[in-house]
Symmetry: C2
């Protein structure tokens, strides 16, 4: 079921505010591979194995109390130079997207905030976007979700991504849970609204993209099951987003820069932008959604988003695997 390349290695990649900083291939065939550094700085390799636990984690739902109090004070790097915004989002093909598979060992925790990720997962993208927006230094461990590594349930009891490791063995998961935590702990550039009512409305707006998620899931798995009712709800979803954006009268849902709603709904917008090229029925790049179209253009240029964007053809190729039965993680 997995691509041939996916079994070769377990990849982790470290991101900083300025883009991809360094990456490594971990396993018995240990290799540090260096990737394009968008900010141009020299990549530093600070790989550290002293935290490696050979026997892996216990399967406790949460780590023990002792572990949960070992959280170090969070370090974050605020780049003084904001990277230039690419006109067209660039997908860094050098970033290895193959994920850890069944027998791959767990890369040792080196004290850096870590995201257990799948490169094309919209939920995990939420966590990545929140960290990018706040310019938090973190590393990524990609996971193969078809042939899951054995240790995954020690990081997420649900065996899903994203999971966020905040100290050695202290992990939280579920996309919005990780983002809320990030927003609680890293005060720079608050993502959620301060006002309780606006905060509630923002949460509802995120729930309201359910019909978009629904159509995306059907598009990926069985496009023929997208019926009139699903399409009606889908366009009602876009109507609702556009109406709300118009009512708020700001460039983004959160104001003059993207915030919680913007980043939390973006992963679905990004994927549907690709799929509308394939299926006319779901096309929303139309005059009716002019305001939304302008919004999407502005969002695509946001550095937190553009540094993690995937070209449409890569996304489509990945998702084709769900129908063909051959999901290839390394594209």
């Amino acid at each position: 079921m997995t691509g041939a390349g996916a079994r070769l290695c377990c990849v982790f990649t470290s991101f900083t505010a300025s883009g991809v900083r360094k990456g490594g291939v971990f396993g018995r065939r240990f290799i540090i591979s260096q990737h394009r550094n968008m900010a141009g700085g020299a990549p530093k390799i600070d790989f550290n194995t002293k935290h490696l636990k050979k026997d892996g984690r216990t399967s406790d739902f949460f780590p023990s109390e002792a572990q949960s109090h070992k959280i170090p004070e969070r370090q974050w790097q605020l780049s003084t130079v904001i990277p230039p915004v690419p006109e067209t989002p660039q997908f860094d093909r050098a970033v290895r997207t193959a994920g850890c598979v069944l027998r791959d060992p767990l890369p040792p925790f080196a004290g850096k905030l870590r995201v257990y990720n799948m490169r094309y997962c919209p939920y995990a993208q939420r966590t990545v976007l929140a960290l990018n927006a706040k310019r938090v230094d973190y590393e990524v461990v990609n996971v193969n979700l078809v042939d899951k590594p054995e240790w995954l349930t020690t990081k997420s009891a649900f065996a899903k991504v994203p999971a966020l490791e905040i100290a050695d063995g202290v992990t939280i998961y579920e996309s919005l849970v990780t983002v809320n935590y990030i927003d609680d702990v890293y005060p720079q550039r608050p993502l959620r609204a301060r006002d309780p009512l606006r905060r509630a409305q923002d949460q509802i707006l995120i729930e309201a993209i359910g019909p978009l998620e629904n159509v995306l899931i059907k598009m990926v798995r069985a496009p023929e099951t997208i019926d009139e009712a699903a399409l009606k709800a889908y366009f009602k979803g876009w109507d609702l987003l556009q109406e709300e954006l118009k009512k708020r009268g700001t460039s983004f849902f959160s104001g003059n820069e993207p915030g919680y709603v913007d980043y939390m709904i973006w992963p679905w917008i990004e994927r549907l932008l690709a799929f509308q090229k394939k299926d006319e029925r779901i096309k929303f790049d139309t005059p009716k959604y002019k305001l939304l179209g302008e919004y999407i253009q502005k969002m695509a240029k946001d550095p937190a988003i553009s540094q993690y964007a995937v070209p449409d053809e890569v996304l489509l190729k990945f998702f084709e695997g769900f129908i063909s039965g051959n999901i290839v993680y390394e594209l």
Copy 2:
């Protein structure tokens, strides 16, 4: 599909910290009916129609900006006398549970925090429990979810309950959104943990009851579809709750009194306690779950819970309607 009684009227009931205070039947056949007051005080009728909008609300996703700023300062009543805790939770049969149906008018907003509710809905129960725990004064408008009132989408764009009306026409919905808002706005007895990590873990624990929800849904709609995998996940869910409770070493998940996790998962525990009497396969009242059993007994005695508890036979009778096709709201 609805019970005969459900079409007769639109019921709203007002609760206070001390239990059911007053209730009224609203419609063309306007009646104020008086219910048992658990605290023994004289019920006050302060029905006020001055806010009535004959033409109903607009179908805007959220109210206009002007409306959203009309929120009055929240008034809450802290009873000086804590009502006695009944040994066995009492279900007040006098509380009318029939909900508003298709043509029923919207009861006028009288300035009091209002919950759009369905008496047996576990999600809406979360909102009610949070308000009870904080002893906030509020009123309830029950809704028939089979034959929904026309105005429901003006209160919840998803046409679901709970919805919480915090000012005339300013409504938020989705159970956890309403509870988070309540916890943000009413500072007394904070429900959520202060520590971001514990808060994240609590949110995950609430997500972790998914397999319990899944079995409950199947139990209500098609018990024959509960297979080995569902049962395995179900008991893993109970294991996980008991392990976590043991690890925390407190009477409740939130400490020495019930809090966020406790109240948010309780509605499913309450229903499964009833259903395990009907179906041996899901029985969790066993020696293995001794600690959990003690926890459940303590929870059942909590005033926020006991004042809103429904006897097992009433719950079972209500849910039988999903299989028979005759859902009766007024039991």
